[in-house]
Amino acid sequence: MSAQKPAQSDDPIELLADSMNVWVGKLSDIVHKVIDTEPIRNVINWARMYSLWPVNITTACCSAEFGAASGARHDLERFGVLPYGSLRQSDLIVIEGTITKKMAKRLRMIYDQMAIPRYVIAMGDCAISGGLFHDSYSIVNGAHEFLPVDVFVPGCPPRPEALEHGIIMLQEKIRNSKVYPQS
């Protein structure tokens, strides 16, 4: 931050404030490092892994298989996945199928409003590369074009078991990740 300043001020109060900022910054660095050590990180990641709440946004027809996966037989809640209405308390976007240009704007808006850490699963061929509708005039060919995707689940539509596998893969990724993501 100080590099962007044009010149050092002569005012002693400002100088003091600057040095305080540096000190506070260093302190937070130290706290981050302490929290990111093995035992504390494991506990935090364990909590994050098993409370992945997807936000209530359905983009297209894979929602039928997402519904089947949430229902009886493939109960997704045993992985800690509970579809939830409020996006500010959610951690996960499951992009269920084709993303139209109209929906892409809303998806990006939803992603930006969610709290960090947030994860994205692209479910279905359409969300990966356009799939069946790759030559349509009204769709976006893949979620990676405007969102950072963590896990891709292929299939048209993927079976509920495939979605479960994707969620387990995401949990593995969270287990090995840092507490404070760079983004």
């Binding site: 936000v55 027809c61 229902g71 009886a72 037989r73 509708f133 349509s136 009204s138």
Partner: protein, 381 residues
């Protein structure tokens, strides 16, 4: 979410005087990120918590399917045709192959026709069960979310053994169906449909007679018989308003002319009637599956049909789970149609959303509009 009675100085509600029209109302945007909206947005105008006007904002799932089917040959188009209503794939597929067969002049063999009806009826049950489970979610009744989805898997397993896919079958092709019944299918199907009918009685006790449901569905979201006909509603929505209209009966296609079944209607036109029409149809379809398996003739399931759309025009319509699904097709003699107009049941029922939601409380909004069985993916195509 309250109305302003005093003149609003800093109000964001707009109008400075309470006497002006629109001064006491609040406009809400519901969706697409909302538990009660699905893949669409509803623009709701409220007076207190009474809805005075509701406008659907569709198009979030518009994928240009009518254009895509002009670019692929008729067999490669089948998966694209199915995608709009993935939970009711077989019925939409039927409308497509029916239009092509009408142009080609190909008549599928009798066993093929029966197999088509079999998958259609299984799909109707699956679609209604999926719809019922979401209805349960919108009412906050989690048991009613879990039970129908669990019982839907009964029929998904059956369909998987018949076609090889859970929900996207591509089973109907011009000239018949792709494959014959697997071994032991009939016994398994009879067992499962009988079990399912017992389950429907259990639903009756836990949900359909439950005051939680009846108090929020009886007399809510009324669509009168006259209004339903004016708006061009179709399927269970129209039958819930007391009109006895079912294409399976009115212009029998495939094997429906030889089957014995009833068209279920309810006279009241409220949410409750529409739900109960769905339930009655599930019972009827369950009975139909057993009847089809009993009456099914032997013989081939598929007749050879060329991959060509002869020059001419054809119009086909079938009764899908959500109402009338129709194709208007123009052929040029190539392997793709020159133009195919694709109308689905949800698209026609979209007009009923505003009519149903007028005068309904905001808390009853999700159940009221969902009782129309409007599937946005199908409507946007």
């Amino acid at each position: 979410m309250t109305t302003t009675d005093k003149p609003a100085q800093e109000s964001t509600l707009g109008s400075p005087s309470p006497d002006e029209p629109g001064a006491q109302t609040l406009t809400l945007s519901v969706g697409p990120q909302h538990s009660g909206s699905g893949h669409m947005r509803l623009i709701v105008e409220l007076d207190g918590d009474i809805i005075i006007n509701a406008e659907p904002d569709p198009g979030y799932v518009h994928r240009g399917i009518e254009k895509i089917i002009e670019l692929r040959n008729i067999i490669r188009s089948i998966p694209v045709i199915e995608r709009p209503s993935i939970i009711d794939a077989s019925n939409l597929n039927h409308a497509w192959v029916k239009a092509i067969e009408e142009l080609q002049g190909v008549e599928p063999p009798a066993r093929g026709q029966y197999l088509r009806c079999l998958l259609n009826e299984m799909n109707r049950i699956m679609s209604h069960l999926y719809w019922l489970s979401i209805y349960g979610v919108f009412l906050g009744h989690t048991t009613m979310f879990m039970w129908p989805l669990g019982d839907r898997e009964l029929f998904i397993d059956l369909a998987e053994s018949l076609t090889g896919a859970r929900i996207t079958y591509s089973y109907l092709v011009p000239g018949g169906v792709r494959r014959d019944l697997p071994q032991g299918f009939a016994e398994e199907a009879i067992k499962r449909t009988e079990y399912f009918e017992k389950r429907l009685d259990e639903y009756e006790n836990i949900f359909f007679k439950n005051p939680l449901f009846t108090s929020r569905a009886k007399g809510v979201g009324v669509l009168s018989r006259q209004r339903a006909i004016e708006l061009g509603a179709t399927g269970p929505t129209l039958r819930g308003s007391g009109v006895e209209a079912d294409l399976r009966k009115d212009e029998p296609y495939a094997a429906y002319g030889e089957l014995d079944f009833k068209v279920h209607t309810r006279p009241d036109g409220d949410s409750y009637s529409r739900v109960m029409v769905h339930v009655d149809e599930m019972r009827e379809s369950s009975q139909l599956i057993r009847q089809i398996l009993e009456k099914m003739p032997s013989g081939p399931v598929r007749r050879k049909a060329p991959i060509v759309v002869p020059r001419g025009e054809a119009y086909s319509r079938v009764e899908s789970a959500r109402g009338e699904c129709s194709f208007y097709m123009i052929g040029e003699g190539g392997d793709k149609p020159y133009r195919a107009r694709y109308i689905t049941g949800s698209y026609r029922n979209m007009a009923a959303i505003s009519a149903v939601l007028q005068g309904v409380r905001l808390a009853d909004m999700p159940t009221s509009w969902w009782s129309i069985d409007y599937w946005p993916v199908e409507a946007d195509r």
